[in-house]
Structures are given as structure tokens and as C-alpha cells.
Amino acid sequence: MNAVRSLGPLALFALAYAAVAMVITNSYYQLMLTLVLVWAVFGLSWNVLSGYTGLISFGHAAFFGIGAYTTVLGQVYFNLSPWITIPIAVALGALAGLIVGFPTFRLRGHYFALAMLAYPLALLYVFEWLGYQELTLPMRRDAPFTYMQFEDPRINTLIALVMLVATVIATRFIERSRFGMALLAIKQNEAAAEAAGIDTLRWKLRAITVSAAIAAMAGGFYTVVLLVVTPPSVFGMLVSAQALTVAMFGGVGTVWGPVLGSVILIPISEILHAELGARIPGIQGVVFGLAIIAVILLAPEGIYWRVRDLLRKRSLAKSGAGMPSPLRGGPSLSEAEIRGGDGASGTAGVPSGPTPSPSPQGGGELRRGDDVILSVQGVSKSFGGLKAVQNVSFDVLRGEILGIIGPNGAGKTTLFNLLNGFLRPDAGRVLLDGTEMVGRKPHELCRAGVGRTFQVMRPFLRMSVADNVVVGAYVHAETDEEARRRADEAIATVGLTDVADRLGGELTTKQLRLMELARALAGRPRLLLLDETLAGLGHSEVGDVLAVIRKLARSGITIVIIEHTMGAMVQLVDRFVVLDHGMVLVEGVPKTVTKDRRVIEAYLGKKWSAHVDA
């Protein structure tokens, strides 16, 4: 239903555009109408990869150019019609995307962007070397339809419009499915995504394949419009830049961004060129550049997001009623937010679970069974000369709550990173239900039933709570509906149902902690690794979170929790493993551990341990 509703604006846009195209007889304006769409499609292709994953590509001209050359060479040498060569271009583009993506995704951030820059430049020289400096599509007046060389330029606009609509629908589909969720998760926090069970490399490869295929389609049709292909005109820096410019100007990470950017920028640049080019040659570039700078300053995330924020603010002020976002499918306002005023008061979402009460401790009733779920054997990890974790061994028993404590710098988080696959131990074994897990990637461990949260919280700030959590649910869910259901359950379990529609960035610390818990929970883990889940919480808040953790333990999930403060932990855990300087200091039930001399020494220094002894 949501998906159908979201196509409304698209249908309106397409109809309006087609209507305008039909009444315009001036061939120059008609050409502009066509080119706007071509660049919008190209911008959208860039958006599929860079907009959603955040991996900026400076090299989309590579795919655009492959499409363009496929079309022109197909007709020049094999007399093939663009109707055939454009689909071939799409296939070749997809293949190129895969070939480019596989090695390049080893790089991140700026390095990825720079590496991408190299591909079109290399191809540019390859095509020059091949002797394809200037090619034209042979004129076929005998068969205008077969060779897409219509007398009436309006048909070009209509074909481009069909391409745009198809691309928008494809993008919307990606955006709403687990594909898009995975990409958004990767963009906002690749490590968290990986820990939530997302095979980031695979999704990124899929994204670049789709993206490159669309770019090649745009390039193929561009050739039909321009009729002339030269390496700089399809592989040049300016071509790659065009995709970035229209997408960033209009708004990144939304289907409407590149469309808006193209609809505004392409005509403006052309009008400036037409009006000023012959009078003060070159001034058009200056004016255009200044205009872009001004807009980026006023709307750094692009026009779309700026306008949306303004509209949202206004509709909030006016009616107090939530405006369901028709475009992004993301956050719509919940009643709770309206009641809650500024949203930061944190009144919502207090778990309705049992009030924290001191649970039987220290050799009392234990929930654990006797079998070992996770066995850590002689695990070590060094960073250069720093031995972060040295020969650590312990077992986690099914159903228990195990606390790993130790002073700051004791190697607790490193240990977690070794357990869930972010780091590979230098030595030792990690057995999950008896299966060796060393060398597995985080998403594989997640699939095997190991969930985790982070000390430094890693929420997806621009996504709603529900979307944040659903990212973690895909790992075992067959369908998107099932994932949604599991996410809702997890949200209910941690008591965040009231704020499920808010953006991650609007939550309080406690809510974020609970949301992270829910995200880990949505993947139905058997073993949950909680990294300093209580950090930064006030006294009463700690109680709330502890209650949730107990609830999880009761439901049968084994929990390993890291803390450097003892207080709250003593009430929670069945057993402690105390780390100091990367080594296991003591292992045992809270009562004995808290009295252990070595533990007191590690935490408070020798003076205090002497004091205890006395």
C-alpha cells in the first residue's frame, strides 16, 4: 500500500513532464527536456551506489562510457539498432560494475573515491588508443524507428521518460526492500551493519552492479541523443562530476534528489550558456559555479532534504499532526512524539517490565545449564608491541549471564571484537557450540547466532527506530514482512514501541542503548555480546536497562556483558571473568570475585588491597 502510494508523485511528475514535452515544438527546448532526463537517470544510477552506501564514486563515467560506446560501435560495425545495443550496454555495464567493485570495495572513504576516479580515465585512454577518438551514429533516414532516429524529437523525450520512470521504480523498490536497508545501514555504520548480520561486501557488489547497469543505459541513450561519441564526452571527468553534481545538489540518498538536481541545473546551465556565452564567453561557468556554492551552503544535504525539513517543520507547527513522508518511506511522526513535545524528554519508552530488584546472587539459584555455548581457548591479539589480549580462555555456559569486567584498557572490547569476527586472533580458538569460528566475518557469526552491541553506540541516525532494528532482523528472515514482524517484536521486548517511528538521532542515550539491544535481538541470537551497555546512563536508567537484560536472559538468551564498573554488574551476572592487561585475572561467582585481592588491586591499587587484607 505504501509502495503504491509512493508512486503517486512519480505518476504525476511523469504525466506533467510528458504533457510539457508534447506541447513544446521548439527543437532546442525539446533537446533540453531529453537531456534533463538522461542526466537525471545517470544521477539516479550514482545515487543507487553512492547515495545509499555513502561510498562516493568519482568514476561513474566508466559505466556511462561503456554504454555509449556499446551503442555507437554496435551500429557502426554490426549495424545493430540501439533497441538491441542499449540492453547489451546494460548487461556490459553490470558486468563492469562487478569487475570494478570487487577489488575496489576493499577500499573505504576517500581511497574508494580516488580509486573509482581511475577507471574512466584509464578507459578514456584505452578508447583513444583503440582509435575511437570520434565516432558518429550513421544516419538512418530509411528506418528512423528501428534506429531510434526519430524526426520528431518528442519521441526521444518520451523514451527518456520511460527510462526515468523505470529507474525511479527500481530505486524505490531497492529503497524499501532489505537491499536498501542494507545499503543505508552500510552508509551510516558499516561495522554495525556487519555486526547486524549484513554481508556488506555482497550488498555493495549488488549495488554497484545495478548502479553501473543503469549508468550504461543512460550512456547508451545519450549516444542516441547526441549522435557523436568521443572519449572525453563520455569518459571525461566532467561526466562523472555531472552525476555527483545533480545528485548532491538535489539531495543524496533519495530518489527525488537527482531528478530535482537535473531539472534545475541542466536548464540553468544551458540558459546561462545561451544568454551569456557569446557575449561574455566563460562567464556562464562562473555564475553556475557560484549558484552551486550558494545552494550547497544553504542546503548542504541537497535541496530535497532542505525542502522536506522545512515542510515537516511547518506542518508540525500548523496542525500538530504527523505528515507521513511520501517519499522516503522513513520516519512519520508518532503520536508519542507530538505528546512528548521536543522529543528529548524521554518520557516514552520506559520498559514496563518488573522493577529492578536485587536478584539472588552469589552462589544462589543459577539459570545456567551445564553445556558450553561458547568456548574461548588461548586467544591472543597484539597491535604492534601492545599485547591487547593474551592467552585468554574461558567458557560461556548456555543460559547464563557472564560479566566480563576489568579496568579501562584491560582488553575487553578487543576481546569482543575477536569473538564476533571484527578482528582475527593471532592465536587461539573460538568455538561456538563446538564449531571453530575464527576467521569468520561478523555477518557470518551473526547468522550463526551471535549478536552484539557496541560500547560507542552505532545507531543509524537518519533511520527510524523501526528501520534501525529491522536491519538486524534480515539475517534470519525469509521475507521483508517477516523481518518487520521480528523487528516489531524486538522493539516491544525492549519497550520502545512508543518511539518506534522516531529517527535514531532523536533518541535519548537510554533509548539508544535499548534500540541497539533490540537490533541485536531482532536477529534472534542465541548468544548476545553487550559492550558497556550501561555506560553513560543515570542511576534509575541503569535499573530499566538491567530489567530488560534480565528479561532476555529469562527468555533463554545467553548473555555476555562487558562493564568496567562493578556496582550494577554484581546484581546482574551469574559469573564474572575479570580481565587485566589483556589476561584473565580471576573467574568466578560475584561474591568471591568482589573479595578477591587481585581484583581489588587491579581496580583500586595495592594500597586498597592491603587495606582489605587488614
Binding site: Y29, V225, L227, V228, V229, T230, G277, P281
Partner: protein, 407 residues
């Protein structure tokens, strides 16, 4: 032959059909012609030189009484900036045909890639376009509204090289046997080198001893020139297309003692003879360097060259000035023949024109073949002599004697 007859027939029929409208047409006071060139961006400099030629041409035609067949109507120049990309060129051409509907002809667009894009549009809009671009492809597409005044790239080297060989033989007394090529990988250089290597060297019995290619910009010419010095060829073809590359090459040759014609150096583009070169290279270093180009200021252009210097402070007239100036006169002639300010009539006039020897293009006639190539289009060979590149070939139009340094 059959073709010619049919062509003439169609032509005369067209004129016959058009005759009544000539009588009816009111004499316009103004006839618009277009100059579509890259006034902005990377190629703004040569385009501005083309504009100089066009402006002087318009003034001269009008001063001589305008278009007499149209009651002395004046020519008016419409400037269109085709920018520095193929897409901008296409857009500009579309704008030109959509909004300047009363244009009867145009000339442009400097770079052959741009001319290709522009003429894809003008062909469909049936607007005749003259061009000084070389690319063979321009007139290999079967188009009817493009008229190429310059010799095509392949024909330039075919014409130029044998003449150079003769020149070398008469001057030095022996026929060159070995040749070196150092070139960038731009479209023009690649096309020229292809023709040289695949065909001409064999025909002329030349042996290629050095073959080096670089991607502009050239960072250091030392390794290139070292190879040339080691091989000691009888001829060196140096083909830079950027002034900075040209500068590096000639200076390095001079440094290695190969300059000033010690190894006769020939280029195949206008770059090495542009006034800009003098801003960074001293005239002594350039002395003797030759280039084969489609057009240059030659004998009979003295008044025009003086005018370019007076009005625009250009030290000499390159192909861009001369050809564009000539294009305006050619359009005027076509209008006189057409007898009405109509693009189709002008196109037809250009197709059927037989205007005798060309005054502003080297060699051949003011006449176009069925492809739209100027019949007999020749080349000029230009040589740097005392700080000025002067036309030294063909003899009939040369303004100076070529010198061939003896080793």
C-alpha cells in the same frame, strides 16, 4: 559524369522553380550568417581568432556593396558559443537552428568533434555549414549540407609529405631515408600518424626509426629527444597539440644541439605556429621548424594580414583567420548565386557553385564534390623564419623561400 549531369539538372530545375519567388521576394536589408565556435572554455583562443576573420569578412563584404543579387543587402554575423564539450556543441547547434531560423548559412566549429556534433543537427535542419575542420569522417557520412573547405586529414599528409620530400631533395641534394615520429595521442595526431605509417612511408621509401607517443601534457621531453639524437633520422615529425608540449620539445632539441633545423623538424598541426608559442620560446629556437597545415596567410592576403594586425594586434594570420574570412566571402558568393536569402537555396548554390580558383584557401577551386569536399583542396607548408611562420609552399602562393639546413 552521370552524377554531374544529374546534379546540374537538379540545380537548374531548382533555379527555374525558384525564379518566380525571386521576383516576388522583397529585397531584405540584412542577411544573417552564423559563426558557431567554442568562444568559451579550452578552445576559446582559436575560436576568437576565427571570430576576427569572420568580423573582417563581414565588414569587407558589406563595404563592397553587400549582396548585389539582394539589392545590396548587408550581411550580419550571429555569434553562437558552442562551448568546450560535444554536448554543449550539440545544444548550441540545436539552439541555433531552433531560434535563429533566418540564418542562411553558418561556419564552424573549430574542433572536428564539435563540428561533427553541430553538423548532425544542421544536416537535419537543412542549414548549410562550412567548416575548416579536417576530419575525413565529417564528409564521409553522406551529408548534403556540410561543405569542407580544408583538405581532409588523410589528404593533408598525402599531399604534404611528397612535397616535403621534394623540398628536402632540392635543398640538401639527397633524398631523406629515415624518419622519427614523436607525437601526442590526440585524435588529429593519431589520424595523421596512421596515414603516414600505414601508407605513405612505404610509398616514399622512408624507414621509421623512432616512434614515440605521449599523453599530454608532456612532463619531460628528454627521453624522447635522446632517442631521436641516438637514431639521427633525416626527418623528424613532431606532433604536439598543446603549446606547452611544443615548447618543451623544441627547447630540448635545441639543448641537445638538434635545433634550428639540424634535424629537419616537421609538425602537422597549427599549434607549433601559433603566436602563443612565442610567449615561451625564443624565435631562434624555432628557426626552421616546419608544419603542414590546411591553410595559412599566403600571397595575396597582405591587406587582410595587415588588417588583422591593426584591428586585433595579431602578429600574423593563421588558418583560423584566413579560412573563416574566406568562408564569409564564400557565403556571399553563394547568396549572389542563390538570389534569395534562403538556406536551401544557399545550400544548392554551394553544391552547384563553380567559382574558379580559390583565393582564401590553398589550391583548388571554389567548388565542392558530391561529398561536400572542396575540389582540389591543397595544403600549405609553413616555416618559422626569423620569428614568423611564413608560407613556403606551394610556390605560387609562397611568401618566402624555404630553407633546408645542411648538416
Amino acid at each position: 559524369m552521370a552524377d554531374l549531369t544529374r546534379r546540374t539538372l537538379i540545380g537548374s530545375t531548382a533555379i527555374a522553380l525558384a525564379a518566380p519567388s525571386i521576383v516576388r521576394a522583397q529585397s531584405p536589408t540584412e542577411v544573417k550568417v552564423g559563426l558557431i565556435v567554442p568562444l568559451s572554455g579550452l578552445y576559446a583562443r582559436p575560436a576568437s581568432v576565427m571570430r576576427m576573420g569572420a568580423e573582417i569578412g563581414i565588414d569587407d563584404v558589406n563595404a563592397a556593396g553587400g549582396i548585389k543579387a539582394l539589392g545590396g543587402a548587408k550581411l550580419k554575423l550571429v555569434l553562437i558559443d558552442c562551448g568546450d564539450t560535444v554536448e554543449k556543441a550539440k545544444n548550441a547547434a540545436q539552439r541555433m537552428v531552433a531560434q535563429e531560423t533566418d540564418l542562411v548559412a553558418a561556419t564552424g566549429a573549430y574542433l572536428s568533434s564539435f563540428t561533427l556534433a553541430v553538423t548532425e543537427v544542421t544536416e537535419r535542419a537543412q542549414l548549410p555549414v562550412l567548416t575548416l575542420s579536417y576530419s575525413d569522417l565529417l564528409t564521409d557520412r553522406g551529408f548534403k549540407y556540410i561543405f569542407q573547405t580544408a583538405a581532409t586529414a588523410s589528404s593533408q599528409s598525402e599531399q604534404g609529405l611528397p612535397e616535403l620530400m621534394k623540398l628536402a631533395e632540392t635543398a640538401s641534394g639527397k633524398r631523406p631515408k629515415t624518419v622519427a615520429i614523436v607525437m601526442d595521442n590526440t585524435a588529429t595526431s593519431v589520424a595523421t600518424a596512421k596515414a603516414l605509417k600505414e601508407k605513405l612511408f612505404k610509398q616514399l621509401g622512408l624507414e621509421l626509426v623512432v616512434d614515440e607517443v605521449w599523453t599530454p601534457p608532456l612532463a619531460d621531453a628528454t627521453p624522447l629527444i635522446q632517442k631521436v639524437r641516438a637514431a639521427r633520422p633525416d626527418l623528424l615529425f613532431a606532433m604536439p597539440n598543446a603549446v606547452s608540449d611544443a615548447k618543451l620539445l623544441v627547447e630540448k632539441m635545441n639543448e641537445f644541439g638538434l635545433g634550428q633545423g639540424r634535424i629537419p623538424t616537421i609538425s602537422f598541426s597549427i599549434t607549433i605556429a601559433e603566436p602563443d608559442v612565442l610567449q615561451s620560446v625564443s624565435p631562434q629556437v624555432l628557426q626552421g621548424v616546419m608544419t603542414v597545415v590546411a591553410n595559412w596567410g599566403f600571397k595575396g592576403h597582405e591587406r587582410l594580414i595587415a588588417e588583422v594586425k591593426r584591428r586585433y594586434n595579431e602578429p600574423w594570420a593563421t588558418q583560423n583567420v584566413i579560412s573563416t574570412y574566406g568562408d564569409i566571402w564564400l557565403m556571399a558568393a553563394a547568396l549572389e548565386q542563390a538570389g534569395k536569402p534562403d538556406k536551401e537555396a544557399v545550400a544548392q548554390a554551394l553544391r552547384t557553385m563553380d567559382g574558379g580558383p580559390a583565393k582564401y584557401y590553398p589550391g583548388g577551386q571554389l567548388k565542392f564534390d558530391e561529398k561536400g569536399r572542396r575540389v582540389g583542396a591543397g595544403v600549405t607548408i609553413v616555416q618559422w623564419q626569423n620569428g614568423v611562420p611564413v608560407t613556403v609552399f606551394p610556390k605560387e602562393i609562397a611568401v618566402a623561400e624555404p630553407f633546408w639546413p645542411k648538416r
